[in-house]
Amino acid sequence: MSHHQQHQSTVERLDRPSTYYEKSSKRNRDDAANKEDPLKDATTLYVGNLSFYTTEEQIHELFSKCGEIKRLVMGLDRFAKTPCGFCFVEYYTHEDALDCMKYIGGTKLDERIVRTDLDPGFKEGRQYGRGKSGGQVRDEYREDYDAGRGGYGRSLQGGKEMGSEYD
């Protein structure tokens, strides 16, 4: 990506997009080389590893330390329409979004380490979990118990919830 190559720092930068985005754009790599970097002026961040109970107010309190927040979209369970542990935070400037990567990503909110990633921008529909049972995919088969994210992975929670979409 073009802005990666200004000059090579002697220390890794924390305001680079994660491999998630690079991986997901790899599919059309051929034309990606010619296209402009979609994250060049990104003002939005994907925020992950939130507790299901973390509120917009809490997110606002922490993330506004990097600049005024233009929009906050909570990630919701596709069926239950309840928070499912991620959100999109949009700032007014690209600089604020980069600062958020540098200063907030990897720190705690509601006693959990949050993960931030630059995002090309929120689009309607992306606020919903893409897992089979409505939440995020990572909560589907998780084998550890995470009280902040609904206990064990949903597919492992026995037959009760399985098939509840037929009710």
């Binding site: 002697t10 220390v11 924390l14 309190e61 200063y103």
Partner: protein, 815 residues
């Protein structure tokens, strides 16, 4: 995390394995990961052939990092491999580029990189020549672009290789810079640049003298110091930048440049020792003497000096006056050298706070070997461990440097949250060593709250709560229990209250309550634990309770405007008939209360409700001159138990232009009155609002200078004049309002407020006044500078921040 050579990679990996990422994972998951890792290591980490530049880069970057490796061995081996491979262009280019970057990213390593270059030059003089030429070109570029920090550090490197310089070396350059400083100072020095340049020149001196004793005569330097002393000008705004005010300030305000100047004069008298600095070239002195020397290229002074105001840096420390002196005294040269170098490291590495924290923890690797106490020495063990040697505690020195940034007025270089995060990382890297230092820092700041600037006091609260939120909210709250008895408006009692409020905003009431001793339970009343605040029209002891419930239903059901208007008009008529004063205020209050209640579930809810009702709200705000202030009051009353949320709602109403900045300010200063002054949210509301206004004026000011068609410039000019007038009006209201509280023209506090509390509230008014006067004076001075610059060489560049408009604020409507 840090590119610091293979030796460390393994360590880092080990650390990551023990880190948060794997906690709680089932065992077989971990195992598989480990195997993956090991395989990868096996496949990729042991190439048969290693590119010499890759190797060189690793070795140079790792210089001095490990106390287990003798630094002279590293220097010798790098110099040797450099001269062996110098014929390769990739090595020449790669090395010079690398060390140019290293110097301006990791300033701690400058003396060590200098030693590498000196040694390599002794083996192959072409190396020294190329490095010198390339650095001179780089130095010229920084000078022309007025990038003062990079200029300073590049100059420091060149000063550190003084012993391979022929003739006058950097002396001519220092003289030219002093002349430039003199010219600027003679013009009044209002931009602060003359002071900055003085500092750059002065702080270079210790490095030159350490690198080449006798290379530049002490006489020359003594004269230079005296010349610069004669050029000192005090900026008009400086008195407003001191962190403490009043008779109980822990120490008098001290300017960093003046401290450095004074320290250097003392050093001159005692023969320039600079014991703190590392001298990694010393083992090679015999070789270096025989090496080829090079002429220092000519550097020309810049023709145009650009850039905004540089504010004077004021000394700040959280470890003054302790039983054991854990940081060097402010007047010592050691203090200036360390604070400058650590300060630059923090300022430069904001793009990787974890690497920054690592450097801070390792600070003792980069200075003279016995400059510091052993790491993690407990405070009470200092006398026996020090045994008459240094008592500087590396953790304290670093913690002090980070706090210096948080408490820098008017603003630190980076966003405050960067310094919060760096302190968090330092604590994570070395909890046992750093946590006690932090504890002493917190107690020191707490003890001095009564003298602390109100803006800094708020920064302290904000940092404290944020920090605790990263460490399970644990703090020794028990030691402050006696202070709970103090009056609610006492600075210490108010600190406790506001810190708890801030914690709740990051978490929730029940959680925070569980972290506090029971004596604190009054600070978290049950009302704070409620999911939704009460809707006041549910109660009967209020005017128009039935109508309130009706209106709530109408708005909730999105009833047609006419129905809402009919009901509201009926209320106003009824109030009028009852002969109540300001009859329209009942319906206004009711409408805003309903919106708050419908939107109480979350910020998105209230925003979508505001969005839907914004025309009506705008109209209500224009009904009378007091209407907007009343709307602010309604919101804050609804959120009385969680005023932080109220303040957020107000901020959004401001973005929608439903409220004017003036109405928010008037409500806080005039309506909420004196009792609100000790409250964090009150300061936050005023501070956020004035900063928004100021930013808008600045943006319009910079628009004037842009390359626009004439009529658009005229429009920008006009808008700027209007914005300037509004800003002036805003500050006038603030100053007059607070002034009346301060001088007792208006009695602060309700009837029955004790005499002591009245005095405390007056004190609050005075400290608010000082902080807001600072904001105003700085803006006025900046504007005056812009006008001058515009009249001269054309308008200067401003950071073109996007203007923040309300209509973009629409949130996604939720189901």
């Amino acid at each position: 995390m840090v590119d610091r050579g293979g030796r460390y990679e393994r360590d880092n990996r080990e650390r990551d394995r023990g880190g948060f990422r794997d906690q709680g994972r089932p065992q077989h998951f971990k195992k598989r990961r480990y195997q993956d890792d090991d395989e990868r290591e096996y496949r990729h980490q042991r190439p048969r052939y290693e590119d010499p530049m890759v190797r060189l880069r690793k070795d140079v970057l790792a210089i001095a990092e490990s106390p287990l490796i003798k630094v002279e061995d590293s220097i010798r081996s790098i110099a040797k491999s450099l001269s062996a491979h110098w014929d390769h262009e990739a090595i020449r280019k790669g090395f010079v580029t690398l060390i140019k970057t290293l110097v301006v990213e990791q300033p701690f390593k400058i003396p060590f990189v200098a030693a590498i270059v000196l040694c390599a030059n002794a083996q192959k003089h072409e190396i020294g020549k190329l490095v010198l030429d390339e650095f001179a070109a780089q130095l010229q570029e920084y000078l022309d672009k007025c990038e003062w920090r990079n200029f300073k550090l590049t100059l420091r490197f060149m000063g550190s290789i003084s012993c391979m310089l022929d003739g006058e070396g950097v002396a001519t350059l220092l003289n030219d810079l002093a002349n430039l400083t003199g010219d600027l100072a003679a013009e009044g020095g209002s931009s602060g640049l003359s002071e900055e340049l003085s500092f750059v020149i002065l702080i270079t001196i210790p490095y030159i003298l350490t690198a080449a004793p006798g290379g530049i005569t002490e006489e020359f330097l003594t004269t230079l110091i005296e010349r610069l002393e004669g050029m000192q000008v005090t900026s008009a705004v400086e008195p407003l930048l001191s962190p403490y005010a009043g008779p109980n300030a822990p120490y008098p305000p001290m300017n960093n440049t003046s401290l450095l100047l004074k320290a250097l004069k003392d050093e001159a008298a005692s023969g320039f020792k600079f014991e703190i600095l590392a001298r990694p070239w010393e083992p090679f002195l015999a070789e270096l003497e025989a090496a080829t020397k090079h002429f220092f290229p000519t550097i020309s002074m810049p023709t145009a000096l650009e850039g905004g105001t540089i504010f004077p840096k004021i000394y700040f420390s959280v470890f003054q006056g302790a039983v054991h002196e854990t940081v060097p005294p402010p007047t010592s040269i050691t203090s200036s050298i360390l604070r400058d170098s650590i300060g630059d490291t923090i300022g430069l590495l904001d793009f990787n706070r974890i690497a920054c924290a690592r450097f801070l923890i390792d600070v003792d690797c980069y200075f003279s070997p016995n400059a510091f106490l052993k790491r993690a020495t407990p405070f009470d063990k200092i006398p026996e461990v020090a045994e008459g040697k240094s008592t500087w505690k590396p953790e304290d020195v670093c913690v002090d440097a980070i706090f210096t940034n948080i408490f820098q007025l008017p603003q630190p270089e980076h966003k405050l949250v960067y310094y919060h995060a760096t302190l968090t990382e330092v604590c994570k890297l070395a909890p046992q060593a750093v946590a006690p230092s932090l504890g002493r820092a917190i107690r020191y700041l707490y003890r001095n709250l009564e003298s602390m600037d109100v803006e800094l006091r708020y920064r302290f609260i904000d940092w404290f709560a944020h920090h605790l939120s990263n460490f399970g909210y644990t703090w020794k709250w028990t030691e402050w229990i006696p202070d709970l008895e103090l009056s609610k408006v006492h600075p210490r009692r108010s600190f406790i209250q506001e810190a708890v409020e801030k914690e709740i905003r990051l978490s929730f009431a029940n959680r925070i309550k569980s972290t506090l001793p029971e004596q604190y339970c009054d600070l978290v009343p049950e009302d704070k634990e409620k999911e939704l605040p009460d809707f006041k029209f549910e109660s009967d002891d209020i005017a128009f309770p039935e109508e309130g419930k009706q209106l709530l239903n109408l708005i909730r059901q999105k009833a047609p405007n006419e129905e809402v208007d009919t009901l509201m008009n009926a209320i106003t008529d009824a109030a009028n008939n009852k002969g109540l004063p300001d009859p329209s205020k009942y319906a206004r209050d009711m409408y805003m209360t309903c919106i708050c209640h419908i939107g109480a579930k979350s910020l998105s809810h209230v925003l979508s409700c505001i969005e839907r009702c914004k025309d009506k709200l705008t109209q209500l705000g224009q009904e009378s001159s007091q209407a907007q202030r009343q709307i602010v009051g309604t919101v804050m009353r609804y959120w009385a138990e969680q005023p932080g949320i109220g303040a957020n709602v107000i901020d959004k109403l401001l973005n929608y232009s439903i409220l004017t900045p003036l109405s928010v300010i008037e409500w806080v200063i005039l309506d909420a009155g004196g009792e609100a002054l000790p409250r964090g949210h009150a300061w936050e509301m005023v501070n956020t609002t004035t900063r928004k206004v100021v930013l808008r004026t600045r943006n319009l000011a910079s628009a004037r200078g842009e390359d626009l068609p004439e009529e658009q410039i005229a429009i920008a000019e006009q808008q700027h004049e209007v914005a300037k007038a509004e800003q002036a009006e805003l500050f006038k209201v603030v100053m007059e309002g607070l002034g009346r509280y301060e001088d007792g023209g208006v009695v602060v506090g309700k009837e029955g407020t004790s005499g002591e509390d009245v005095e405390l509230l007056k004190w609050w008014a005075a400290s608010w006044l000082r902080a807001l006067k600072r904001q105003r004076d700085i803006e006025e001075a900046e504007e005056a500078m812009r006008v001058n610059a515009g009249a001269g060489a054309g308008a200067m560049e401003e950071d073109g921040e996007e203007e923040k408009g309300g209509d973009e604020n629409a949130m996604e409507e939720e189901a």
